[in-house]
Amino acid sequence: MSCLPYFLYFKIIFLVILSRASCELLPCCASVLLPLFSHFSFVPLTPRILSLTPDFSTFTLTLKWSDNGSAFPYGLDASWEIEILRKETMEDVTRESYNSKLTHEDIIHSWNWKSDMPLECTSHYVRIRHYINITQFDGHKDWSDWSPVEPSGSGLFPQDTVVAVGSNVTFCCVHEEGRQVQRMSYGAKDYPLIRLSSRSSAIRVLNANASDASGTNIVCRMSENGMDGTVLFVGYGPDVPEDLSCETSNFVIIKCTWKPGRASGLYGVRGTKYSLIESISGKNVSCEVNEMKKERICGFPVLADQKTYSFVLGVSNPIGQTEASLLVDLNQRVNPETPEKLTVSGNSSTSVRLHWFINGSFAEIRLLCQIEISSGHSEQKLHNVSMPGGKFSTYTAQLNALHPYTKYRFRVRCSAADHFWRWSDWSGTEEHTTLEAPPARGPDIWRERSPSGKSLRIFWKVDRKLKMSVWSLMDFFVVFVADNVKTDRAVAMGNGIYISWNSYPNMTCGYIVKWCHSSGSEPCSVDWQKFPSNTTDAVIKSALFRPGVRYNFSLYGCKSSGYQLLKNITGYTKELPPKRAPNFTVEETSSDSILVKWEDMPIEDCQGFLEGYRLSFAKGEKDALKPRLLESGNPELKVKNITDLTKKSLKILDLQGKTSYQLDLQAYTAGGLSPPNSLYVVTKEDSVGLIIAILIPVAVVVLLGVVASIFCYRKREWIKETFYPEIPNPENSKALQFQKNICEGNKSLKTLEMNPCTPNSVEVVETQSAAPKIEDTEMMSSKTDTIVPEDGSDSETENHVVVSYCPPIIEEEISNPPMDEPVGLSQVVYIDIQSMYQPQIKPEEESEIDLVTTAGYKPQMQLPVSALKIESRSPAEEESDKTAGYRPQANTNAWNMDTPDSPGSVESNNENASFGSPCSINSRQFLLPPKDDEDSPKPSNTGWSFTHFFQNKPND
C-alpha cells in the first residue's frame, strides 16, 4: 500500500462510500472499476449491531448484525472482529474474529459466545467492526457502538444447573446495592470470594465431584442476615447401553432390555431418559425405566407386516447423550409367554391328552413345546411336540405309552420351532392318573410243600398295583429233592452274596434261588429270585440282609416236570467276630498239664464261618486288678491255635507244678476274634520230687551225725585237752583278739567293720605346742590362727580334739567357696579321715590345704564363728540364720554358754561350732553332750564318734 498514491487511497474510500447504491445508479461502474481495483482494499463501513440476546440458562450471548452486502459481483472476504467487555472492571473478556463473504445480498450474521460465568453475574458489552481483504488494509476501522446486556434481579447464579463431573463452575451472588457478601460455600466448604462488581461476588469451583442425589447446595451469606442459595447437580453423561436385546413373547409387544452401564448420578427430572426408535418404520417410543434396577426394559409395539426391526436406543441426560442399535428378525427372537390353563384328559390306561393356552399370536410360526412327564416310579421324561402356532389359541398334545394306573405329573413349556431362541417358563404342574389295565402277567409266586406233604404254603411277591386272587394252585407243582444235596459256602460281595453253580443242561426253564429271612422268633420269611437258564452265577441282594447273619440259600433248577433242588448254599454278607467264646472247662489237672474241654457254639453266636479256636495261657493269679492275659504283653504267654473244629479238648503240657495259670479261650471267624473266656487253674504239686527233696538232706544229716559221734567218741581225750583244758591258755583264745584293733588286719570280724573301713580309731591329742598339727588344719583356717581371743588366752593352751570315724560315702563335689567371705567368721575346715596322718604342712600353705581339704564336701550351713564369740547376737542376724537352708540340731550358743571361761581357745570354739549333723563329716560336736562333760574343764572330752564309742565301750 505504501506505493499507492494518496489520491488512489481516497478514491477507494470514495468508491466504498458509494457502495452498492451508487453502483445501482451506475450499473456499468462495477464491471469497469473492479478489475481495475481488484488488488486494493476498501474502507469498511462501521457495522451496526442488530441485536444482542442473552441466553441466561446456557450463559450464551447471541449477536446479530447485517453486512449490508456489496456492490461488486465478486464476493469480498470480510473479517469481523467482536469484542466483549464486562462492566466495572471493564475486563476485556474476549476479542474474537468471524469471517464471511460479502456478496451482493445483505446478509444478517449471527454469532454466539458462551461465557464462563452466568450472564446474570455482571453486565456484558459487545461491539463489532470489520475489514475487507484484511491482509491488504491497515487503515482505520470503526467499531460499532457498545451493545449492553444488563441483567436484572439478584440471587445466586447459576440456578439449578447440571454439569459433568470434573467441570469448573463459577457461582456468583448478585445482591442489592449496599449489602456485602460475607461468605459463599459450596457444599460444606467456604470458597474464596471473587469480587465482580459492587453488587456481585463469585466463587470458582474447580473439578467438581459428583453430587448427592439432591444436589450440592451453594449458599451465599450476606450482611443483614441475607442469604441466597442454589443447587448444582454434578453427574456423568449417559453410558452406552450394554447387552441390548429385543424379543417378543406374544407378537404384540417387542420387549427390549439392556444394562445401563455406569450410573449417571442424576435422578428424577435430571435422570437418564431412554427412547426406542425404530428406524425402518420411523416410530419411536419413550421408555419409562426404574433408575434403581440394574436391567432396563422398554416395550415397542409389533408392527403389521414388519418382521425386521432396526432399533436405536437413544439415551440422554442433561449432560449428554448416546445410543445403541440393534437389528432383529422378530421370528428369530420369540420367547413365548408361559403356557397356562394346563389340563389333562384321557380315558385310557396308557395315553392322555394335554391342553394348554398361550397368550400370544403365533400364527406365523411353528411352536415347539416340551412336556415333562414324571411319575413316582420312574425318572422324569421330556416329550417334545411341534405344532403350528395360533392366535391366542389353546394347544393340544397326546401322550402315549404311559403305564396303566400310574400317577403322572405334567408341565409344559414352549419355544419357536424353526428358530429356537428361548424356552418359555414352565407352566404349572398338572397331575393325572392313568386308568387301570388287566395285568400283563401273574404274580411271582413260590410254593412249599409241608414235610408231611399234606399242606402247601404259597408265597408271592406283592405288586401293589395288582389286585390278586388265589385260584387253583393244584397244577404241576413238583419239587424233586435229591438224596445227596451238597451244601456250599457263598462269598460275600459288596452288600450281597455271590452264588455260583454249574450249568445244568436239563434245567430248561431257569433257576430259582430261594432263601429265608429270619428275624428273632418270627417265622422265616421266604424270598426268591429267578434266573434264566443260561445263568450260572448271581449276586443276591436284599435290603433285609444283615452282616453277621447266616443265610441259607437253596438253588432249584426248573424243568418241565417241576423244580429240582440242586444244592444248598450258606453265606454271610459280611462275617463278624463271634459274639462270645465257647464255654470251656478244665477236665483234668496234673503237676505239669491241664486238660481243657469246650462246647460247640450256636451258629447265631458265630456270626461267620468258624475257623478255629485260640487258647492262650500264662502264669497268673486271679486278680481283678491285673490286666487281662491277652493285653498284658506277658512274655510267658503261650498260644495254641486249634483249627480242627472237630476237636473239642486240648491238653496243655510242660507246666510247672503247684502254679496258677490263666487260660483264655477265643473263637475266631474271618471277621475276627471273639471276646475271651478266662479260667484260672492251679496245677498239682509234684509229690515225688518233694519227698526226694526232704529225704536226701535228712539222710545226709543223720549220716554226718553218726560219723561225728563216732569221731568224737574215739578222739574224746584230744578234744578235752584242746578245748577244755584244766588250766585255760588265754593266748589260745582268738575270740578276744578284736579288743586290740578291730580294723588292723583282722578281717574276720565282719560284724564290726564299717564300710568303707577307714581307720577306725579315735585319737585324742592334747598338746601344748604352738605349732599346728596336721589335725588342726582340719579344724582351723589360716585366718583363725591369727585371731586373738578376747580373753587373752593363748593358742598354746588350747586343747585339740580330733575325732574320726568312718564317714559315709561322700560324692558331692565341692562348689567354689566364697573367697571373699571373711574366713575368720565362717571358714570351717573339714578333714578327710583317711588323711589324718599327713605330713605337717607349713602355715603359709594352709590356705591351699584349706581348699584341698574342703573339697569333697559342702556343708549344709556354715555357722558364723563370730556368733560363737559374741554372746549377744542381734535379732537380725538370728533371723538370717533361721532363713538359712540348714541349721544344726542343737543351739551352738548354748554349748558355748556352758564353757565361757574354759581354757578352750577360739579355735576350740570353732571346733564346736563346726559340728553339724551326726551324719556329717564335720559333726564333731556332741549333739547330746555327756553329763560328765558339762563340768569338765577339758574340752577334749567334747568329741564324739563311733570309734570313740567303741574305744570307750570297754571303759563302760
Partner: protein, 195 residues
Amino acid sequence: MAAADTPSATLRHHDLCSRGIRLARKMRSDVSDLLDIYVERQGLDASISVAAVDGVPAAAAERWAEQTGTQRLLDNLAAYRAFRTLLAQMLEEQREQLGDADAELGPALAAVLLQVSAFAYHLEELLELESRGAPTEEGSEPPAPPRLSLFEQKLRGLGVLRELAQWAVRSVRDLRQLAKHGPGSGMALGLLESQ
C-alpha cells in the same frame, strides 16, 4: 350445645382429646426424625435459619391463653389442613427431583403426611362434638405457591417441617386444655384455668 352436655359426649370428648394428644405426640416424634433425615438428605445445615415461609401457618399465637376451645380447634384444623397441602406438595417435589433414588425420605414424608391428615380428621371430629362443625376446606385452600428454585424448595420444606414440629407441640397443649375443661367451653380456656 345440648349434645355436648351429655355424659357420653363428655366421655367421647375426653377420649378424642386423649387420642389426639397421643397422635400429636407421635407426630412430634416422627417429624423430629423426619427433620433429621431431611436436613441430611438435602445437604442443609441444621442450624440454618429459615424465614417465615408463605402459606406455612405459624404455631406461635399472640394471645394463646385467651383462646376458646373452639377457636383452638379451628386454628389447629386450619394449620393441619395447610400442612397437608404443603406436605403433599413436598412429596411430589421430592419424587420429581429424586425419582426412585431416595428410599427413606419419601416414605418418611408420606408417613408424616398421613399422620397430619389423620390429625386433621381428628380435629374435625372434635369440632363436630363441639356442635360447631368443621369449616369447608375451599376457603382455606392456600394459593398455589410461585415456582421456587430448588434451593428455595429445600428451605421451604425445612420451614414446613420445623413449623409442623412446633404445631405438634402446640396441639398437645391445646388438646390438654380442651380435655381439662370438657366440651363446649366457650370461654377462654386459659382464663378458665386462672379462675
